[in-house]
């Protein structure tokens, strides 16, 4: 089969699976759903492997497969083309690989749902995979936006999956609105690029790019940044992600941790020729990423819902990726993307195991003592936690250190990358602390007296296997690129992505050993023994008791939700309210109401003629004949 067809199959299979499950939701037997749902994703993974082999063999020469022309209107030519290069293959593998594991896991996690909901869930999941693959494979910006909106839609559907829960519906709506803000940015950015360069395909745009920066380019880059920020839940459009945890846990793992929220990183990477030129927007990417990383990590410290801790850590980790691509270390950003997909999916699925065993209890304070009772899950979760905290030798260590190291060593007279590094460094320490807090609170120590299930059962095989696979990946995945710790170590990810991004334009300095060691040491210390001392052994009184103000600030998430409410929602409501009073009722409503009232009034008058009395009709008839006669007489003279 030619490569062009295989690329299309990657997209078409999950789409077909989704359509089949959606159309036959109530009729498809559960056994078939269990095969079709994950099966299509795994076949797509195999097809992605074929593309991987091809890219491996031909040295990274990109393919641009054009299937047909979608829109043709003057200068606007929108083909349906898929762009296969090292980056999109990398993303395809992550999406289908991690996605396949999570969809397989869902087989077990969603077992308590009714047959209809069960099929619906996999329909949405496959829809998401399709959209995400379209997003990463699209060869032009219009198709990218289709995928971009598609993941937003499936995210909305999946957050609101338990649509009988009010909070889930509200969360879904919030996510959708936030995402649409980003979509508008994307679309406007596409307009700007098209207006400037008369093309919407990557190739056309990149070929037409000027040599130097221009205000137009900055505008486009900032607009795309809006899209990226919304999709990746970065400041200031981040508030939807914690609420998105209302969705089923595998959804949180797949969409709100491993794949969809990294779409912003992918976007910046995909448009890296634009961002390389637009230095202001590029710097904004890094700044937003770094600030979000620190911001989210600080909030994660006080969260008690295990999924919310993970949600904030996701924001924080994506902040690292933004930081990396923002300073120009694209390969480092994508390495961290992959690593994060591994360990965050692992953490979410591990948390899912626990939640499943705890009858949907998500409050960590009511766990405790799981180490002895759910040993397998606990070990895997520990692997994920250590990876998140950046402890050697787990994958998070290697990827995070590459990000920080590249930022640290970038030569820049302004010192901006080093400032970013400093924020990232502080975040790493905080990460160690809140990860430790989560671990010690939920798994270690004695069982909480409020625990809903005293003797939790270990997860079944179909859920355990993906968790174990992800744990293995999180353990060994880092060895793909070990140059963070060892110079000159091999760097397979960076080499793989070099045909797309080009080599890193600066050399790491020897000084980098110091920050790496410092990060590792401090993050490790924060994880153990500091967090341990605070939350398990309780040697020290919990810091929040001494700093109630800070505790409150963090618990309220810096009052950003309230601020948005005050800045946008309230004025909107007020405007809508006054519009209702001033415009809607007297003008817009009045017109149709007036017409209706007039019609009703005149009909009332006319209906007097329809009094149902036969003799009146005859009288009127005869009277009319009389009038006719008179007219006749008058006319005839």
């Amino acid at each position: 089969m030619p490569l062009q067809a295989i690329t299309l199959v990657i997209l078409a299979l999950p789409a077909a699976g989704s359509a089949a499950l959606g159309l036959g939701a109530l009729k498809v037997p559960r056994r078939l759903v269990q095969v079709v749902g994950p099966g299509t994703v795994w076949v797509a993974f195999l097809c992605s492997l074929v593309l991987f082999m091809d890219q491996f063999a031909n040295g990274g020469k990109p393919h641009d497969f054009t299937y047909w022309t979608w829109l043709s209107s003057g200068a606007l030519q929108v083909p349906v083309d898929l762009f296969v290069d090292r980056l999109s293959v990398f993303m395809c593998l992550v999406v289908t690989g991690v996605g396949g594991l999570i969809v397989t896991y869902s087989n077990g996690y969603m077992e308590h749902e009714t047959d209809g909901s069960y099929a619906r869930f996999f329909c949405y999941m496959d829809l998401f995979i399709t959209s995400m693959l379209l997003l990463v494979l699209a060869g032009n910006l219009v198709l990218l936006i289709v995928g971009w909106a598609g993941v937003g839609l499936s995210s909305y559907l999946l957050i609101g999956f338990f649509y009988w829960r009010w909070s889930a519906v509200v969360a879904a709506r919030k996510a959708f609105v936030m995402n649409v803000i980003g979509d508008v940015g994307m679309i406007l950015g596409t307009f700007v690029l098209f207006a400037a360069y008369h093309s919407v395909t990557y190739r056309g745009i990149f070929a037409a790019l000027p040599r130097t920066d221009s205000p137009l380019l900055e505008l486009a880059a900032f607009l795309f940044l809006v899209g990226a920020v919304a999709k990746s839940a970065q400041l200031p459009l981040h508030t939807w992600l914690p609420d998105a945890m209302e969705g089923p846990t595998p959804v949180s793992a797949l969409i709100h941790a491993a794949t969809m929220v990294t779409a912003g990183v992918y976007l910046v990477g995909r448009l890296h020729p634009v961002y390389d030129l637009a230095w202001a927007a590029h710097g904004a990417v890094a700044l937003i990423g770094a600030v979000t990383a620190l911001f989210a990590a600080s909030i994660a410290i006080v969260q008690t819902d295990i999924k919310r801790v993970l949600a904030y850590s996701t924001m924080s980790q994506i902040g690292y990726m933004f930081l990396a691509v923002g300073v120009g270390a694209y390969a480092a950003g994508f390495f961290h993307l992959m690593a994060h997909a591994f360990f965050k999916a692992l953490l979410f699925l591990g948390a899912g195991n626990v939640i499943h065993a705890m009858n949907d209890e998500q409050d960590m304070r009511r766990y405790g003592g799981l180490w002895g009772q759910m040993r397998g899950t606990s070990i895997c979760f520990l692997v994920g936690s250590l990876s998140l905290a950046g402890i050697i030798p787990f994958v998070g260590f290697w990827s995070k250190e590459v990000v920080l190291g590249d930022a640290f060593s970038k030569p820049d007279p302004s010192g901006f990358p080093q400032a970013m590094w400093a924020i990232g460094f502080a975040t790493a320490v905080l990460t160690g602390f809140y990860t430790g807090r989560m671990w010690w609170m939920a798994f270690a120590g004695r069982p909480s007296p409020e625990r809903p299930v005293s003797r939790p059962h270990e997860a079944q095989a179909v859920m355990m296997v993906p968790v174990v696979v992800l744990a293995v990946l999180s353990t060994v995945g880092g060895f793909l690129q070990i140059n963070a710790g060892f110079h000159p170590g091999w760097k397979l990810i960076e080499d793989w992505l070099t045909p797309t991004f080009g080599p890193l334009p600066w050399q790491a300095r020897d000084l980098e050993y110091f920050p790496t060691a410092a990060t590792l040491l401090l993050a490790g210390l924060a994880f153990w023994p500091i967090a341990d001392a605070f939350y398990r052994r309780r040697v020290w009184s919990v810091w929040s008791e001494r700093l109630p103000f800070l505790q409150r600030l963090l618990e309220r998430k810096y009052y950003l939700d309230e601020l948005y409410d005050l800045l946008f929602v309230r004025p909107m409501d007020a405007a809508a309210e006054s519009g209702d009073h001033l415009l809607e009722a007297p003008v817009i409503d009045a017109a149709p109401t007036g017409v209706a009232m007039t019609a009703r009034g005149s009909a009332g008058i006319l209906s007097l003629a329809e009094n149902g009395l036969f003799r009146t009709y005859v009288l009127v008839m005869l009277g009319a004949a009389l009038v006719g006669l008179v007219i006749l007489l008058v006319v005839r003279g």
Binding site: T616, L619, L633
Partner: protein
Amino acid sequence: MLAVAVFWIMAVLAVLGGLGVIVSRQPIRSILSLVVVMLALSVLFLLLSAQFVFAVQVIVYAGAVMVLFLFVVALLGPGRERRGGRLRFQWWLGSLVGLVFGGFIYSMLQGARFRPPQHTDLSTFGTVQEIGLGIFTRFLYPFELTSVLLLVAAVGAIYLSRGGRVGEGRGAAADDGRVRGEEEPHA
């Protein structure tokens, strides 16, 4: 002058009959008055060389159709019209309108000029042969249409008067029930 005498006698008879139709309070008297009008008119038809129409008027109209009316009266009973009721003003208003209407028609007749007649052989005018020729040549389609109309009216009348479905307990369904009562031993 015999013809003139016949016309006036019949005309007076017809007008009296017409008055009888609208004045009497009992349907049966109205019907009989109408028969008088019809018979008087039939004589006038004869005067006007319409032998076939005369025959039809007497046999079909005065005979069959009026008998149908009599049957209905026999079926519904001799309901006398009560005084009062709604639309009391209609009595004088209707009379006024009707009289004005009639006055207008009459005034139109005054000074009306007639078109010159065709020159037809009056010895065969209005005979059955001529009528038959007219009906089955020039008036074939209208004739067939009227036959269809009669069929529709007959079917409609049967449908309307066959009574309600069994067991619905409508007022006159009891009549019907008696016919069908053979199936019901306790009827």
